[in-house]
């Protein structure tokens, strides 16, 4: 018969499940006890007095014992096991297993962050019968289909009872449908309520019942049935419903939680525990009462469970990092057909770090709200928008993406799609080109003076400084720190537009920018993600690593199908990039990045650059510590002027994120052949301590000739006089630093 063949041949379409990066625990990790338990709670581990089953933890002073769940990683299947975490003032001090042996490193299971479901919206996690706690089928039978084990697919008694109840109550109280009929309806039929359909449903149910065991039918029901809606995503099956409502595996649910799911089956919208908590609670307790009456559980157990709150997580698990999932989807679209992603049961392991993602979301939401208050003008109801990309520069891992201030909104993804003028974000690449040429260094004097360029067609290009004033001769360090347009245009024209375009291309800009003079002031349009790719090379010492969201794709058989390993390609010399990065630290200490200083942990060395496009349409900040690169864009969707410079708009968002991430200082080793030297910030002349109060330490090639400031203690030959004592002091200082 067609129906049974169809059923037999039917395999569920399995949307790809997407996982965040697992948190690695090891001695020395600066994660305090509160943060450790926060991470456990994020994975819905339950705090208990006595560890009884996987998914629980216990806190005993500075010691945290965890019953780890069995977990599947990209490269390993791990059984449930016990872990003891010993914390101290500096973070994790040591880890031990159940036998008290030292564990050097172990990871928590990766957080499920969503799935790639097909356009018809069905999302599910399929469970084998072994993964289903026996309580669930018992509860389903008790509530939905008491004679499931004995009837033949339809239950005339139940239909009669339903009709009688209907007539009495004047509304549908009992469906009268067996689980098998419900299954048929979900599988094969539209939801139109017609008599013809009812008859077909009954016939098909009887056919299925004749051909399959009750266990098969029950398992099919558990994986098939609709249990909730999340935007355009339909939650099917109890495996996903458990994650969706409670954020944990079905096997870990207690009686009250199983009863809630059994209650929701009847009307996932009407009994939605998030939107209609009262109704859901009432029906759950009805289910519990029924379970007690039918002796599935004891009356005492039912009573105890009925006293519990619903226990539903505030946000559904998954689908709440839409901008990140968007990037994942686009990455995989190159290699996979849509159908493979939505149906083939793939597991996708990504680089997303929930902690970083939370920081980025929080900072953007909060700062945009503040900026809106600063800026709100009458007749301008539109609110500011923004986007954030955070990476780990050394690996090119994208650890957070925010696509707009409404972080849960799965719509326009500004991090990937807002293509905006990069403004002064382009300047570091001009100065990098200058440093590479060997003709410039941090102390080189450049002319900040009016530029008048004749363009084709007799037009003129007359760029201006932000201050509308020209500063005359200034050293490179100041020109970049203060983002002087005229000086930069002069340097760029000296080097030639093709060279600058080529540098941008080397760092990953595709297609290469159009070679027009305005390019020198950032007329180049980039997305925040593209800006992050460019700056990642600066943060990574001149090595380009393709930004990646996906680390590996695992097939339904557990084998790796495609890996995206770390890649590094040298695209600039370490010497040039080091000199530039030092200049970018001066942006933070003296230039346009300075307002970030009070928001950052004191002593954290960071490097960065602001960007403001013409008429304040785009406010950018891109910068990095030793641990992370963050790029922030702030602007209006309709490209209206914001009134904010990069320093006023994007910078505070950036600073809050960097402070929240709490990484280490930018601390690249100085390449051999470079040397630190002190110059005067205003004049670029070489100085010694005591002869100028405007000194800045810059890195320059060792053989660099820098004019010395008069009266600054250099002898006539130009060599500073050093004595043995001075050299000794120098040596001691080196030891200390």
């Amino acid at each position: 018969m067609v129906v049974t063949r169809q059923f037999e041949g039917r395999r569920w379409t399995l949307p790809a499940q997407v996982y965040a990066a697992p948190l690695e625990l090891y001695a020395g990790l600066t994660l305090g006890p509160a943060e450790v338990t926060h991470e456990l709670e994020r994975l819905h581990y339950r705090k208990v007095a006595q560890l009884d089953r996987p998914g629980t933890y216990r806190v005993n002073g500075a010691r945290i014992d965890v019953a780890l769940r069995p977990a599947r990683f990209a490269d390993e299947q791990r059984n449930a096991q016990l872990l003891s975490i010993f914390t101290g003032a500096q973070g994790i001090e040591s880890l031990g297993d159940a036998a008290g042996r030292e564990v050097p490193v172990i990871r928590l299971e990766p957080l499920l962050i969503g799935s790639i479901f097909p356009s018809h919206g069905e999302d599910r996690i399929v469970l084998t019968p072994r993964e289903v706690p026996p309580l669930l089928p018992a509860a389903l039978k008790a509530v939905e289909d008491r004679r499931f084990d004995s009837h033949r697919g339809v239950d005339p008694q139940a239909i009669l009872r339903a009709l009688w109840v209907d007539a009495r109550a004047g509304q549908i109280e009992q469906g009268g449908s067996t689980l098998t009929q419900q299954l048929v309806r979900s599988y094969f039929l539209s939801s139109r309520q017609t008599l013809g359909r009812k008859v077909r449903e009954a016939i098909m149910a009887m056919a299925l019942d004749a051909h399959f065991t009750k266990d098969d039918l029950m398992n099919a029901y558990i994986n098939e049935i609709f249990l909730g809606q999340d935007g355009n995503r339909a939650i099917h099956g109890f495996g996903l419903a458990s994650q969706f409502y409670f954020g944990k595996p079905l096997a870990e649910l207690d009686l009250s939680e199983v009863a809630l799911l059994a209650a929701v089956v009847r009307g996932p919208s009407y009994y939605d525990p998030r939107r209609h908590a009262d109704r859901a609670l009432a029906r759950r307790n009805l289910v519990l009462q029924e379970l007690a009456e039918q002796h599935v559980v004891s009356p005492a157990e039912a009573l105890e469970a009925a006293r519990r709150p619903l226990g539903v997580s505030a946000r559904p698990a998954g689908a709440y990092y839409p901008a990140y999932l968007d990037f994942v989807r686009r990455t995989l679209r190159r290699d996979y057909r849509e159908q493979d992603l939505t149906e083939a049961g793939l597991a996708i392991y990504t680089s997303l770090e929930p902690r970083a993602q939370d920081e980025a979301e929080r900072a953007l939401e909060r700062e945009l709200a503040r900026l809106d208050r600063v800026r709100r003008r009458s007749g301008e109801p539109e609110s500011l928008e923004g986007a954030v990309v955070v990476t780990t520069p050394q690996s090119g891992d994208v650890i957070a993406i925010v696509g707009g201030r409404d972080v849960g909104y799965d719509g326009f993804d500004r991090a990937l799609d807002a293509r905006r003028a990069m403004g002064s974000l382009v300047k570091p690449f001009i100065y990098l080109t200058a440093l590479e040429s060997g003709r410039y260094n941090a102390a080189t004097i450049v002319q900040d003076e009016p530029v008048d360029l004749k363009l084709a067609g007799g037009r003129h290009w007359r760029p201006e400084n932000f201050s509308r004033e020209a500063n005359g001769p200034v050293p490179v360090v100041r020109a970049l720190a203060e983002s002087l347009n005229l000086a930069t245009v002069g340097v760029g024209l000296d080097l030639g537009l093709p060279k600058i375009a080529e540098t941008l291309e080397r760092f990953g800009l595709t297609p290469p920018p159009e070679q027009v003079p305005a390019m020198l002031l950032g007329s180049v349009n980039v997305t925040p993600l593209e800006a992050a790719q460019l700056y990642n090379g600066l943060a990574n010492g001149g090595f380009r690593s393709p930004l990646r969201a996906v680390r590996v794709v695992i097939g339904s058989d557990g084998k790796a199908l495609k890996a995206f390993p770390v890649q590094v390609t040298q695209v600039a010399t370490p010497e040039a990039v080091y000199q530039l990065d030092r200049l970018l630290t001066e942006v933070m200490d003296r230039g346009t990045g300075r307002p970030a200083r009070p928001l950052l942990p004191s002593g954290l060395v960071v490097a960065g650059k602001s960007g403001t496009s013409s008429d304040y349409r785009d406010s950018w900040f891109a910068g990095f510590s030793g641990s992370n690169l963050t790029v922030v864009w702030v602007g209006y969707d309709d490209n209206a002027p914001t009134g904010f410079t990069g320093s006023a708009g994007a910078l505070p968002v950036w600073a809050h994120i960097m402070a929240g991430l709490g990484g280490s200082s930018w601390n690249a080793p100085m390449p051999e052949g470079l040397i630190d030297t002190e110059i005067e910030y205003g004049s670029g002349l070489r100085v010694l301590p005591g002869c100028s109060d405007d000194r800045v330490t810059v890195a320059v090639p060792a053989a660099t000739q820098i004019p010395a400031k008069a009266g600054c203690g250099f002898n006539d030959g130009g060599h500073p006089v050093t004595t043995f004592i001075d050299r000794t002091q120098q040596w001691l200082r080196n030891l200390v630093h």
Partner: protein, 158 residues
């Protein structure tokens, strides 16, 4: 949050924007003539080590590599790199795995990344150069390989 490589005191790159030591000293007499910057003091030696977490992962990667599971070994080393991203020893390890997989161009990139991080540690620099040399040789660029080997000097016994 990363475990720092156990570098010798003073090995912190002198590039701290604040507090970097000045070269030279005070004396009388002044001029505006160019002053060549004196040669840098020999950078103080340091030696990179692996922390215990990274060590354990490297050992695991070696086992995987020994049985030809290059991809798994690479994934394990990436875990170590997330813990110590600036440790040149790990980049050399990862480059060796790339070489084992037949990906000589990536091995070269990792060798150069290691080299950039290994400033001040002759032993780490030497193993980075050896990786670069092997990746060049794997691509038939024997003259360049010899030059890379020469720059790496003789292997430092550890």
């Amino acid at each position: 949050m990363a475990l720092a490589a156990c570098a010798a005191p003073g090995s912190r790159p002198s590039g701290a924007p604040a507090g970097a030591a000045a070269t030279g000293a005070s004396a009388s007499g002044a001029s505006q003539t160019p002053a060549p910057v004196p040669p840098p003091p020999a950078s103080p030696a340091r030696q990179f080590h692996l922390g215990s977490a990274a060590s354990a992962l490297v050992a695991q990667a070696h086992t995987q590599a020994a049985s030809g599971e290059w991809a798994a070994a690479g994934a394990t080393l990436e875990r170590a790199l997330r813990i110590e991203p600036d440790n040149p020893l790990l980049w050399v390890e990862l480059g060796r795995v790339q070489l084992g997989e037949g990906n000589a161009a990536q091995a070269d990139g990792m060798g150069r990344k290691a080299l950039a991080l290994a400033t001040g540690d002759p032993a780490a620099q030497a193993s980075a150069w050896r990786l670069i040399a092997d990746s060049l040789r794997a691509r038939g660029r024997n003259a360049e390989a010899l030059e890379a080997e020469r720059r790496g000097g003789s292997p430092t016994p550890q």
